[in-house]
Symmetry: C2
Subunit: 207 residues, 2 copies
Amino acid sequence: MDNKYIITIARQFGSGGREIGEKLSKALGIPFYDKELISMAAKESGIDSEVFENVDEKATNSLLYSLSMGLYSYGNSFSAMGDLPVNDRLYILQHKIIKKLAEQGPCVIVGRCADYVLKERNDVVNIFIHANMDYRKERAINVRGVDKARAEQVINKTDKVRANYYSFYSGQKWGFAQNYNLCIDSSKMTTDQAVNLIVEYLKIKNQ
Amino acid sequence: MDNKYIITIARQFGSGGREIGEKLSKALGIPFYDKELISMAAKESGIDSEVFENVDEKATNSLLYSLSMGLYSYGNSFSAMGDLPVNDRLYILQHKIIKKLAEQGPCVIVGRCADYVLKERNDVVNIFIHANMDYRKERAINVRGVDKARAEQVINKTDKVRANYYSFYSGQKWGFAQNYNLCIDSSKMTTDQAVNLIVEYLKIKNQ
């Protein structure tokens, strides 16, 4: 189908949101960005991508301080961010990259507050994928290789970190329906069915 | 289409959730219950429906007290609820009525914690309809006849009351995506398109 929208996908850990996003990008024939945003940020900054991987989608509590110090005007040079913690540098770089990617046309972007970063555009569809704990535990163990005994703890901790990251940079509540255009409980269907549902949503919007 | 699900619809004030639910019930050829739940409760209890209308979807803070007093076991007789505030009586009656309606087969139920009341069933689809403030203000003024100057205040107050009601009786957060199977931002489409989307959702689940 002819899709004109940029699609952002926020997701609970273990909900299959990444897989749904990847399959959706293939179904629509448009680019997919998830971890790719780290390597792009690494390339742009010259910083090793492993350094960024450790802080990806994790908030610091330093941005307000940084803003008050006038360090947020990063311009074209990465050196202007020299005093910022690496979390904030990565957020700012990803923010720039997400905006640039959106300029290039339809794509699927997973996580990284993309819905908030692109809030001024009117060609964006924001999706949140969630699922019940049983489903997420099963996926965490069987798809992500998380230790069975620690699965629930890992899920809750990862989502807490993601929620803090989203809330810190966007000032909004992660997982709150009104921040998204469509929220889907992926535990009630297969990932292919969830992809079909999003495609139908886009078709209906295009009517 | 052949739909086997009971559909509950929670909705922000002014989002058009009621209209979407009503159109959906017609599209599926199944009963629709919203304010009807008040007259049913009135009929069952012998209390005037006007009395119930004033407290519909409003929480008291008395249920915990009532529970501790052992007054919650309402059985077959309404007299057992004689000491409960009218809000709690209405909730309990609606709770019973919603369970009975669900037993009778597929239908659409708006509000009244129906998702929570029916949480033990596996043939229920829980939907949340929300919209941005501009859309809701316009609908509140033009469809619901709310005074323009007070529209935003009425919206926020009504939703606060609904959120308290939901939270009080269910212990869950109203409007939090994970409580629902599908959340739709109705300001991004017409009510007919939102109905189509829900019908597509049901079709995909039936595949």
